[in-house]
Symmetry: C2
Subunit: 150 residues, 2 copies
Amino acid sequence: MGDLEVRPAAADDLPAIVAMLADDPLGAQRESPDDLTPYLTALERLNNDPHQHVVVAVREGRVVGTLQLTIVPGLARKGATRAIIEAVRVHADERGSGLGTHFLEWALDRARSEGCQLVQLTSDATRTDAHRFYERLGFEASHVGFKLRL
Amino acid sequence: MGDLEVRPAAADDLPAIVAMLADDPLGAQRESPDDLTPYLTALERLNNDPHQHVVVAVREGRVVGTLQLTIVPGLARKGATRAIIEAVRVHADERGSGLGTHFLEWALDRARSEGCQLVQLTSDATRTDAHRFYERLGFEASHVGFKLRL
């Protein structure tokens, strides 16, 4: 894992990012890799928000992972700040290589350095491999995640 | 429900808000109603962030509910913006009155008006009454919520 670099996502990374978002049974129905316009608009908005960190993991010059870390201050737990991780993807070629673990550990370190006391994420109930992965990292499956499409 | 008002939380609301956060078996261990200092610091930070909406529900001049709505842009789902709801509390005296439903519907409307396509929240696995409440509102328990304390 020596040369794994994690850096903010740039417009040039979007083809690789969107390809990863689309590369699974859930994502394939939701994404539009042939039209990057909506992603570019969203990335500009994200990169202008100091509480948002959309990053890529790069190995040997190739984008092999992406995730979004959002810093969320709050009142509960004596005014604790939490980090929410969304849209974690690791390229299919790199799964099982330990890259996911290093990448998530980077995110936990970043959350710590931003003063977060808690990190949280939700994972689709069908992604049982992902659940084991998060539990190995120390996450507890303590909550039920509810979603509503508007 | 005629006179239910929802408005941004102010420093003067903190005693009522923190009392509600502390008024359940989980919250009682986590909060410090006798020392509001950390909450005041957090509220100032929250109220300076345009993506954060900490609100109170007020009936007949009394704070009877609180929640936090966070607007989170993202790349996934063609650059969809989502709203995350945290720290929902309704005063014990008001439960079963329909106030929770009206309050959450306010939050869904607000999320819509901020351009969100998705609303999500997590609820502790032990809060089964809350789960039924969210399902009645149209939420789907599609995800597992993971948390890690740093």
